[in-house]
Amino acid sequence: MEWFPLGRIDEVPLGGGRYVETPAGQIAVLCNEAGELFAVHNRCPHRGGPLSEGFVSGKTVFCPLHNWQIDLESGQALPPDQGCVKTFPLKTEGEEIWLGLPETQS
């Protein structure tokens, strides 16, 4: 696991998200109304909608394209939809958000 600084906590809007470009593709950094942060692949398992632009509430993000709901802890779509999106670890140090990415082979 390699850790990368992303920016300050207050750069991610409460109840919404931002996206980051990484070697692992676009990742959505999402923040719920209570200030909890989550990171998932920025592609809805349904039709690839950018989850960084969806509503975040509790542990759920609502995809902006067709309103699929994704559980942010497991990455699983909520029933009746089926699908799953990769989750990534985040940590904060002071005001800084850090993203954990698996170390690349090369």
């Binding site: 990368f4 920016g7 209570a34 909608g49 009746p80 990415l101």
Partner: protein, 812 residues
């Protein structure tokens, strides 16, 4: 005392639909508050009582009717005691005592003992071979006895009587229905409808004996026949009595709780003893008892809310409708369908096809509904009845239903019940009728639940009417499309209007304030309530209310329209669709420079640059140097125009100039939904003004103003609102109309359904007839628009951050 308080103990007496529904609602709100014990008389876990008749008729098996199996109770830590009746509630020691003598202490009790079948008070009613029809035990007994055939006599031609007649007939018995009144279902049908129903059931081999008072069940060791008061008698192997139900109140009465017909409860579903709640068929609320499921579910919600210590809801009674669950016979009735003095009747009778429709009107509102043979318009009519809507303008097609709402996209098919199982109901999500019906039978009761479970009608919503019909035809009378006040979304029990009222009355200035003040179930809300509440806040308080970007859909946050691949489309404002060579050149150069993948004219006569990545939006806006066209928002879109009299040889008015003026006056107006206008310069109407939210048509003497038109999902021709002389009047009336719409319509309600809902007359009275109100409405709109700035200019200047760029580019 230890640090850890013990959980409060809730004892539920009654393991039926009302009791368990309350527990389910309670678990949703406060999963850990109580240690719950449920006592049930019957040996089964909670099953769907509505499906008794399909089981009796052999169309379903008992196992298919189970709503909560044993695992469910276990998963939620609920102790279930089936076959274990409670015989006493000791209120002094706060314990219930079972038939086995066991004592179980409680902090709260929920009584949901339901109702029992009443027996006709005649000699011989205790003979073997006399049955009631109330629970699975009765169904099992009847199934067994019917295997040997013979004569079955049903006393009472009410809903249950006819259902059991149908079931036993299907099992091969010779069935006779005996009734003291002149026609069956006399509480749900008038004489004419009753005759049709009787004919239809007779055609299936069921015999009817009407206006007969039963005197005695004949037989010595078991039933042999039934004697009437006139002395005549008929043979019978079994007699089924369906003469009514009696709330089961013995337990409550013995415990000293106030009872009349049922256990008396307050609006919070509390009995005389505030620790004891009661719900379901056993209660009497404001003088009413209910035997249908929809009211029970409403009660369950309220009782759970108070048990969960939220203490915010009140039960205010239910308006109900009924439906017969006999396969192949369609019947729907509600309200006072017999009519009387001061009422009018609209009727349609097609005896050959077995169709009879009757609507009773009083002062232009619906008082009663009776539909036989074709009940597809039942839910629609019922909504008008419940909401006491003025239906004067709908009178012509009241008996034919909503011709343009709810059936578009499924042309000509408005009878979901007659569709094949494979028929596609929801075109957006590809859900078939069979899938929906199966899901309902597995235990769904509301539109919301069907949406959640199958996705049917969860996207564009145009098949909502069809899904409601399927609920009605699958569940029968228990589904009540509209008795239930419609909650804004799953996060709250408050309706749109209640939320709006609270925002105005309490001066709530942000979405967060609203969620907090109204105790939103999820503090973060959801994709439905966030934008709606934000809109309501902004409309009520245009200056002080906070516009919360996190409560706006991505389109309204990015000020561009998101596309399927995550890119955006950019539509600059071109007032009235009139541009210049210089402007066109500039747009073309921008498109070329940024290799915009597609440039296209929109349906509203504007230019669309498609396929722009989010990161490039502010740059493209800067280079275009034009205002936002708001083509992405619930807002004023475009004013479409025809050439008009300046060039057109037919034109009688200057439609392009009016379109430009309208667009300049209304741009930046947010609304419950998108708003499209058009201005045509002569009655040839080339700008298609009659399918716009507001459309004007030039005539020799001035302008005609049309409202409530729609050319999209559900085509609707606009209504003529007024005829005026000057452009100034057109602009003022358009503003007043749109402001009334902004203040009154629900979020995501277009003008077309809104005009239908409130009625053109009411709109005219405020917007046309009352000049003072017209001026005030227009001024309020001007004030609201004055608070808005052009978002593209704001973004270009750096005052608005749409988060176009990534938070960070991480390189390995």
């Amino acid at each position: 005392m230890g640090n850890k308080a013990r959980k409060a103990r809730l004892v539920v007496i009654g393991n039926g639909m009302a009791g368990i529904r309350t527990v389910e609602e309670l678990l949703k709100m406060a999963p850990d508050l109580y240690e719950i014990t449920v006592f049930g008389d019957e040996p089964h876990p909670n099953y769907n009582r509505i499906l008794l008749t399909p089981v009796l008729a052999g169309e379903m098996r008992l196992e298919e009717t189970i709503l909560n199996d044993h695992d469910w109770y276990q998963e939620h830590g609920i102790t279930l005691r089936t076959g274990c009746p409670v015989t006493q509630i000791d209120r002094v020691r706060r314990q219930v005592i079972t038939a086995q003598g066991e004592k179980v202490p409680y902090d709260r009790v929920l009584i949901a003992t339901g109702a029992a079948a009443a027996l006709a008070p005649i000699p011989g009613n205790d003979l073997p071979g006399v049955y009631s029809y109330r629970d699975m035990r009765d169904v099992e007994a009847l199934t067994q006895v019917s295997a040997d055939g013979g004569e079955a006599v049903i006393i009472g031609a009410g809903l249950l009587g006819l259902e059991v007649a149908h079931g036993l007939n299907a099992r091969g018995m010779q069935v006779t229905v005996v009734h003291r009144r002149a026609w069956p279902l006399d509480k749900q049908l008038d004489a004419r409808g009753g005759a049709l129903l009787q004919q239809a059931m007779e055609a299936r081999g069921i015999r009817f004996l009407m206006e007969r008072e039963s005197a005695a069940v004949l037989g010595t060791d078991r039933v042999e026949g039934l004697q009437f008061q006139d002395g005549s008698h008929i043979p019978a192997r079994i007699v089924v009595m369906t003469v009514g139900i009696r709330p089961r109140i013995d337990l409550a009465q013995a415990a000293g709780l106030a009872c009349e017909q049922g256990i008396l409860v307050s609006d919070t579903l509390q009995t005389y003893d505030p620790r004891i709640y009661a719900v379901g068929e056993c209660v009497q609320h404001r003088g009413m008892t209910y035997g249908l499921v929809a009211p029970l579910f409403e009660q369950a919600k309220v009782a759970a809310n108070h048990l969960a210590e939220y203490g915010r809801m009140r039960y205010q009674g239910s308006v109900t409708s009924t439906k017969l669950k006999v396969t192949g016979i369609e019947l729907f009735s509600a309200g006072d369908f017999l009519g009387g003095e001061g009422t009018e009747e609209l009727t349609l009778l097609d005896a050959h096809q077995g169709i009879y429709k009757k609507v009773v009107l009083q002062d232009d509102t619906i008082k009663g509904i009776l539909l036989y043979g074709d009940t597809s318009i039942g839910p629609w009519l019922f909504e008008h009845l419940r909401d006491k809507n003025n239906v004067a303008s709908l009178r012509d097609h009241l008996l034919f239903g909503e011709t343009h709402l709810g059936d578009a996209g499924h042309a000509g098919v408005n009878q979901a019940a007659r569709l094949a199982d494979s028929a596609e109901i929801c075109g957006c999500n590809g859900v078939s009728k069979g899938q929906i019906v199966r899901a309902i039978r597995d235990g769904l009761f509301t539109l919301e639940e069907v949406r959640k479970c199958t996705k049917a009608s969860a996207s564009c919503g145009s098949c909502t009417g069809l899904v409601e019909q399927l609920l009605v035809s699958t569940l029968g009378g228990v589904y009540d499309s509209s008795a239930r006040k419609k909650a804004l979304c799953g996060c709250t029990d408050y309706s749109h209007q209640e939320v709006r009222d609270a925002i105005r009355k309490e001066k709530l200035l942000s979405v967060r304030d609203v969620f907090r003040f109204l105790d939103w179930r999820h503090p973060g809300g959801c994709a439905t309530c966030r934008p709606a509440v934000n809109y309501y806040v902004r409309t009520a308080w245009p200056a002080e209310g906070k516009d919360d970007p996190s409560a706006r859909f991505i389109n309204e946050r990015a000020h561009a329209n998101i596309q399927k691949d995550g890119t955006y489309s950019v539509i600059p404002r071109i007032y009235g669709g009139v541009t210049t060579p210089a402007e066109l050149k500039r747009i073309a150069e921008v498109a070329e420079r940024h290799a915009v993948p597609m440039v296209k004219f929109t349906g509203g006569q504007r230019l669309d640059l498609l396929g722009v990545p989010k990161e490039k939006l502010p740059l493209i806006w800067a280079e275009l140097d034009m205002p936002s066209g708001h083509a992405y928002g619930k807002a004023l879109r475009t004013v479409k125009s025809c050439v008009g009299k300046e060039f057109c040889r037919f034109g009688v008015q200057d439609s392009t100039q009016l379109a430009i003026d309208l667009e300049k006056n209304l741009e930046r107006m947010w609304a419950p939904h998108k708003v499209k206008l058009a201005a045509s310069g002569c009655p040839r109407n080339c700008a298609e003004s009659t399918i716009k939210d507001v459309g004007v048509i030039g005539v020799d003497s001035g302008w005609e103003i049309y409202v409530g038109g729609n050319g999209g999902m559900k085509v609707r021709a606009a209504d003529l609102l007024a005829k005026v002389k000057t452009e100034a009047e057109v602009i003022q009336i358009s503003k007043a109309f749109l402001q009334m719409y902004r203040e009154d319509a629900q979020y995501l309600e277009r003008t077309a359904p809104w005009v239908e809902r409130v009625g053109l007359e009411q709109i005219k009275s405020r917007v046309i007839d009352d000049l003072a109100q017209r001026v005030e409405l227009a001024e309020r709109l001007d004030f609201a628009i004055a608070q808005e700035k052009d978002p593209w200019a704001e973004a270009v200047s750096g005052r608005l951050d749409i988060h176009a760029a990534p938070l960070r580019r991480v390189s390995a």
